[in-house]
Protein backbone atom coordinates (compact mmCIF):
# COMPACT_ATOMS: atom_id res chain seq x y z
CA UNK A 1 0.00 0.00 0.00
CA UNK A 2 1.27 3.46 -0.81
CA UNK A 3 -0.06 6.98 -0.26
CA UNK A 4 1.57 10.00 -1.88
CA UNK A 5 0.60 13.66 -1.40
CA UNK A 6 2.52 15.80 -3.86
CA UNK A 7 2.70 19.22 -5.53
CA UNK A 8 3.97 17.90 -8.86
CA UNK A 9 1.63 17.08 -11.73
CA UNK A 10 1.53 13.39 -12.62
CA UNK A 11 0.34 11.04 -15.35
CA UNK A 12 -2.05 8.62 -13.59
CA UNK A 13 -1.70 5.92 -16.28
CA UNK A 14 2.08 5.90 -16.04
CA UNK A 15 1.84 5.82 -12.24
CA UNK A 16 -0.59 2.88 -12.31
CA UNK A 17 1.65 0.91 -14.63
CA UNK A 18 4.79 1.68 -12.64
CA UNK A 19 3.16 0.77 -9.33
CA UNK A 20 1.72 -2.45 -10.73
CA UNK A 21 5.02 -3.50 -12.31
CA UNK A 22 6.89 -2.88 -9.06
CA UNK A 23 4.40 -4.16 -6.48
CA UNK A 24 1.81 -6.58 -7.87
CA UNK A 25 3.12 -10.12 -8.47
CA UNK A 26 2.83 -11.07 -12.15
CA UNK A 27 -0.10 -13.34 -12.94
CA UNK A 28 -1.72 -13.05 -9.51
CA UNK A 29 -4.31 -10.31 -9.90
CA UNK A 30 -7.49 -10.75 -11.87
CA UNK A 31 -8.59 -7.14 -11.92
CA UNK A 32 -7.58 -3.60 -11.16
CA UNK A 33 -9.89 -0.65 -10.64
CA UNK A 34 -8.66 2.88 -11.20
CA UNK A 35 -10.37 6.10 -10.21
CA UNK A 36 -8.90 9.33 -11.54
CA UNK A 37 -10.29 12.65 -10.39
CA UNK A 38 -9.48 15.54 -12.73
CA UNK A 39 -9.98 19.28 -12.56
CA UNK A 40 -12.99 20.67 -14.42
CA UNK A 41 -13.06 24.24 -15.75
CA UNK A 42 -16.61 24.63 -14.40
CA UNK A 43 -18.24 24.00 -11.02
CA UNK A 44 -21.53 24.81 -9.29
CA UNK A 45 -22.85 26.54 -12.45
CA UNK A 46 -19.75 28.72 -12.87
CA UNK A 47 -17.75 28.48 -16.12
CA UNK A 48 -14.24 29.62 -16.83
CA UNK A 49 -12.50 28.37 -13.68
CA UNK A 50 -8.89 29.16 -14.53
CA UNK A 51 -7.10 27.15 -11.85
CA UNK A 52 -7.41 25.74 -8.38
CA UNK A 53 -5.33 25.70 -5.22
CA UNK A 54 -5.49 22.65 -2.96
CA UNK A 55 -4.63 23.13 0.68
CA UNK A 56 -4.14 20.25 3.13
CA UNK A 57 -3.18 19.44 6.72
CA UNK A 58 0.37 18.06 6.40
CA UNK A 59 0.76 14.94 8.49
CA UNK A 60 -2.92 14.33 9.15
CA UNK A 61 -3.81 14.08 5.47
CA UNK A 62 -1.26 11.33 4.82
CA UNK A 63 -2.14 9.55 8.07
CA UNK A 64 -5.85 9.61 7.25
CA UNK A 65 -5.34 8.29 3.72
CA UNK A 66 -3.09 5.49 4.97
CA UNK A 67 -5.73 4.50 7.51
CA UNK A 68 -8.55 4.38 4.95
CA UNK A 69 -6.43 2.32 2.54
CA UNK A 70 -5.61 -0.11 5.33
CA UNK A 71 -9.30 -0.32 6.24
CA UNK A 72 -10.11 -1.16 2.61
CA UNK A 73 -7.44 -3.88 2.59
CA UNK A 74 -8.84 -5.33 5.82
CA UNK A 75 -12.46 -5.16 4.72
CA UNK A 76 -12.30 -6.50 1.16
CA UNK A 77 -10.31 -9.26 -0.45
CA UNK A 78 -7.94 -6.93 -2.28
CA UNK A 79 -4.21 -7.29 -2.83
CA UNK A 80 -3.05 -3.71 -2.77
CA UNK A 81 -4.14 -0.05 -2.85
CA UNK A 82 -2.33 3.02 -4.16
CA UNK A 83 -3.30 6.68 -3.80
CA UNK A 84 -1.73 9.85 -5.19
CA UNK A 85 -3.27 13.24 -4.37
CA UNK A 86 -2.09 16.63 -5.58
CA UNK A 87 -1.77 19.75 -3.43
CA UNK A 88 -0.87 23.31 -4.44
CA UNK A 89 -1.72 24.87 -7.82
CA UNK A 90 -3.68 22.74 -10.30
CA UNK A 91 -4.79 23.54 -13.87
CA UNK A 92 -7.94 22.29 -15.65
CA UNK A 93 -7.62 18.78 -17.08
CA UNK A 94 -4.80 17.84 -14.72
CA UNK A 95 -5.29 14.83 -12.46
CA UNK A 96 -6.05 15.71 -8.84
CA UNK A 97 -6.29 12.21 -7.43
CA UNK A 98 -5.56 8.62 -8.41
CA UNK A 99 -6.91 5.60 -6.52
CA UNK A 100 -5.77 2.19 -7.76
CA UNK A 101 -6.85 -1.14 -6.28
CA UNK A 102 -5.84 -4.66 -7.33
CA UNK A 103 -7.66 -7.91 -6.50
CA UNK A 104 -8.19 -11.48 -7.66
CA UNK A 105 -11.83 -10.77 -8.54
CA UNK A 106 -13.42 -7.53 -9.73
CA UNK A 107 -16.09 -7.07 -7.09
CA UNK A 108 -13.70 -6.49 -4.22
CA UNK A 109 -11.63 -4.02 -6.25
CA UNK A 110 -14.69 -1.99 -7.28
CA UNK A 111 -15.99 -1.85 -3.70
CA UNK A 112 -12.63 -0.99 -2.14
CA UNK A 113 -11.86 1.71 -4.71
CA UNK A 114 -15.25 3.34 -4.19
CA UNK A 115 -14.83 3.19 -0.42
CA UNK A 116 -11.42 4.87 -0.58
CA UNK A 117 -12.43 7.71 -2.91
CA UNK A 118 -15.66 8.39 -1.01
CA UNK A 119 -13.91 8.52 2.34
CA UNK A 120 -11.20 10.72 0.82
CA UNK A 121 -13.77 13.18 -0.52
CA UNK A 122 -15.69 13.45 2.74
CA UNK A 123 -13.06 12.93 5.44
CA UNK A 124 -9.50 13.54 4.19
CA UNK A 125 -8.33 17.06 5.11
CA UNK A 126 -8.01 18.82 1.76
CA UNK A 127 -9.59 22.14 0.79
CA UNK A 128 -10.10 23.53 -2.72
CA UNK A 129 -9.89 27.19 -3.65
CA UNK A 130 -10.95 27.98 -7.22
CA UNK A 131 -9.87 30.95 -9.29
CA UNK A 132 -13.19 31.99 -10.86
CA UNK A 133 -13.79 34.88 -13.28
CA UNK A 134 -15.10 36.98 -10.35
CA UNK A 135 -12.22 36.07 -8.02
CA UNK A 136 -11.07 33.39 -5.61
CA UNK A 137 -13.66 31.04 -4.08
CA UNK A 138 -13.25 28.36 -1.40
CA UNK A 139 -15.34 25.31 -2.33
CA UNK A 140 -17.67 24.60 0.58
CA UNK A 141 -18.66 20.98 0.00
CA UNK A 142 -18.16 18.01 -2.27
CA UNK A 143 -21.01 16.29 -4.10
CA UNK A 144 -22.39 13.10 -2.56
CA UNK A 145 -22.08 9.69 -4.17
CA UNK A 146 -25.67 8.37 -4.16
CA UNK A 147 -24.44 4.81 -4.68
CA UNK A 148 -22.04 4.93 -1.75
CA UNK A 149 -22.22 1.95 0.55
CA UNK A 150 -20.58 2.67 3.87
CA UNK A 151 -18.00 5.32 3.19
CA UNK A 152 -17.03 5.59 6.83
CA UNK A 153 -18.35 9.12 7.03
Amino acid sequence: MKVVVQVENFDPWVEMKNYQDANIPAGKHGGSVTFIGSMRDFNEGVDGIASMYLDHYPGMTEKHLERVCQEALDRWDVMDAFVIHRVGDIQPDEAIVLVGVWSEHRSAAFDACRFIINDLKHRAPFWKKETRPEGEHWVEKNTQDDQATNSGS
Partner: protein, 62 residues
Protein backbone atom coordinates in the same frame (compact mmCIF):
# COMPACT_ATOMS: atom_id res chain seq x y z
CA UNK B 1 -10.85 31.94 13.78
CA UNK B 2 -8.46 32.35 10.87
CA UNK B 3 -5.29 31.36 12.70
CA UNK B 4 -2.79 28.81 11.48
CA UNK B 5 -1.61 27.96 14.98
CA UNK B 6 -1.45 29.16 18.56
CA UNK B 7 -0.34 27.84 21.96
CA UNK B 8 -2.87 27.68 24.79
CA UNK B 9 -2.61 27.30 28.57
CA UNK B 10 -5.52 25.17 29.80
CA UNK B 11 -6.50 23.73 33.18
CA UNK B 12 -5.99 20.03 33.90
CA UNK B 13 -8.89 18.03 32.50
CA UNK B 14 -9.76 20.69 29.93
CA UNK B 15 -11.59 19.52 26.82
CA UNK B 16 -11.62 20.58 23.19
CA UNK B 17 -14.64 22.71 24.10
CA UNK B 18 -12.54 24.66 26.62
CA UNK B 19 -9.80 25.15 24.03
CA UNK B 20 -12.33 26.58 21.55
CA UNK B 21 -13.74 28.92 24.22
CA UNK B 22 -10.26 30.28 24.78
CA UNK B 23 -9.70 31.16 21.13
CA UNK B 24 -13.19 32.32 20.15
CA UNK B 25 -16.24 33.84 21.80
CA UNK B 26 -18.44 32.48 18.99
CA UNK B 27 -20.21 29.12 19.14
CA UNK B 28 -18.37 26.42 17.26
CA UNK B 29 -20.06 26.19 13.82
CA UNK B 30 -22.05 22.94 13.50
CA UNK B 31 -20.13 21.62 10.52
CA UNK B 32 -16.68 22.18 12.08
CA UNK B 33 -14.41 19.14 12.04
CA UNK B 34 -12.18 18.55 15.07
CA UNK B 35 -8.92 16.63 15.26
CA UNK B 36 -6.60 16.02 18.21
CA UNK B 37 -3.10 14.87 17.34
CA UNK B 38 -4.25 14.42 13.73
CA UNK B 39 -7.10 12.03 14.61
CA UNK B 40 -10.77 12.98 14.25
CA UNK B 41 -12.57 13.38 17.56
CA UNK B 42 -15.35 15.43 19.13
CA UNK B 43 -15.71 18.47 21.32
CA UNK B 44 -15.80 16.51 24.60
CA UNK B 45 -12.32 15.03 24.05
CA UNK B 46 -10.16 15.66 27.14
CA UNK B 47 -6.79 17.15 26.33
CA UNK B 48 -3.31 16.35 27.60
CA UNK B 49 -0.17 18.46 27.77
CA UNK B 50 1.27 18.98 24.30
CA UNK B 51 -1.81 17.85 22.35
CA UNK B 52 -2.34 19.40 18.92
CA UNK B 53 -5.95 20.48 18.42
CA UNK B 54 -7.29 21.40 14.98
CA UNK B 55 -10.61 23.00 13.99
CA UNK B 56 -11.41 23.05 10.32
CA UNK B 57 -14.29 23.38 7.81
CA UNK B 58 -15.81 20.54 5.73
CA UNK B 59 -13.20 18.99 3.48
CA UNK B 60 -13.27 19.23 -0.32
CA UNK B 61 -10.51 17.03 -1.71
CA UNK B 62 -10.52 14.51 -4.53
Amino acid sequence: MGKADDSLELADGASVKDAWAQVSSDDLPNNTLIAVNMEYTDISHVLNEGDEVAFFPPVTGG
